[in-house]
Amino acid sequence: MTLFQWTFGTLCALVALRHLFRIVRGDGSRLAGIFWGLLWTGAAVTIFRPGVTGELAALFGIGRGADLVMYLGLLAGIVVTRYFYSRTRRLENLIAELVRAEAIRHSKEPVIGS
């Protein structure tokens, strides 16, 4: 095993364990804990056994494991970007609604000819 595998593999495994403990203790969202736990476990397994991604890629008919990781990363990037874009737009609209309501509440009747 290389130094990279020992360092980063262990780090990913520790983070995965932290999420596992949080689920057991009942801290935070259970769904989020499972999601992040699985993600970090996957990262640790991939680092300790790099062949796994190749085997998985072959299952999907993709030539190399690195390509599978790249495709998944790209897909995740698109999903995350869309999610945050929608959230930002919702927040922007809520602020506009709030400011609009305040502006109308403090408005004065227009005086024709003034």
Binding site: R82, R89, N93, A96, V99, I104
Partner: protein, 167 residues
């Protein structure tokens, strides 16, 4: 708090509707529009039984329009035709008039200059009738300084495209 032209127009529309307005007009405050055009728009709206009257400088007259602005506006017309499927000759003209029924269908969510395209989108989706009315636009140093820059137009197109993708 200044949220942008789109947000301000929606505030104006909401305010006018709350006050019981039967017709709502939007109008840029930089002096580029001819106030008398509003009367012609109102007359056409009533005569033709439409719900939206949209000002068109390309059917009417422009004074001192720089060629770069002409090019940008023409590109915007084709962009809107492609994205919204609404066939108008001028997409970013601030002078408009609408009936109460028409105004009730407008809910601007894009706070800045993109609202012009959003309004056209909502007009197309409403299924209500719209007409284009020739208007006069006078470009001055002040109105050009306050108006859309070419770089801002590219950002606007990118935002509209992103908005479409996110829907």
């Amino acid at each position: 708090m200044n949220l942008g032209q789109g947000a301000a127009i929606q505030t104006g529309i909401t305010f006018a509707l709350q006050k019981g307005a039967l017709f709502v007009a939007t109008f840029d405050a930089d002096g580029q529009h001819e106030p008398r055009d509003l009367l012609r728009m109102y007359n056409r709206l009533v005569e033709e039984g439409a719900d939206y009257a949209l000002g068109s400088r390309f059917l009417g007259r422009t004074e001192n329009m720089p060629w770069s602005r002409w090019l940008m506006l023409k590109a915007a017309v084709w962009f809107t035709r492609l994205m919204s499927g609404i066939w108008v000759t001028d997409t970013h003209n601030g002078i408009r008039m609408m009936t109460r029924r028409g105004a009730e269908r407008i809910h601007i969510t894009l706070n800045r200059m993109e609202h012009a395209s959003e309004i056209l989108d909502q007009i197309a989706r409403s299924g209500y009738r719209f007409i284009e009315v020739p208007v006069t636009i006078r470009y001055s140093v002040e109105s050009l300084a306050k108006g859309q820059k070419t770089t801002a137009a590219v950002r606007l197109a990118a935002k509209l495209f992103a908005e479409r993708l996110a829907q």
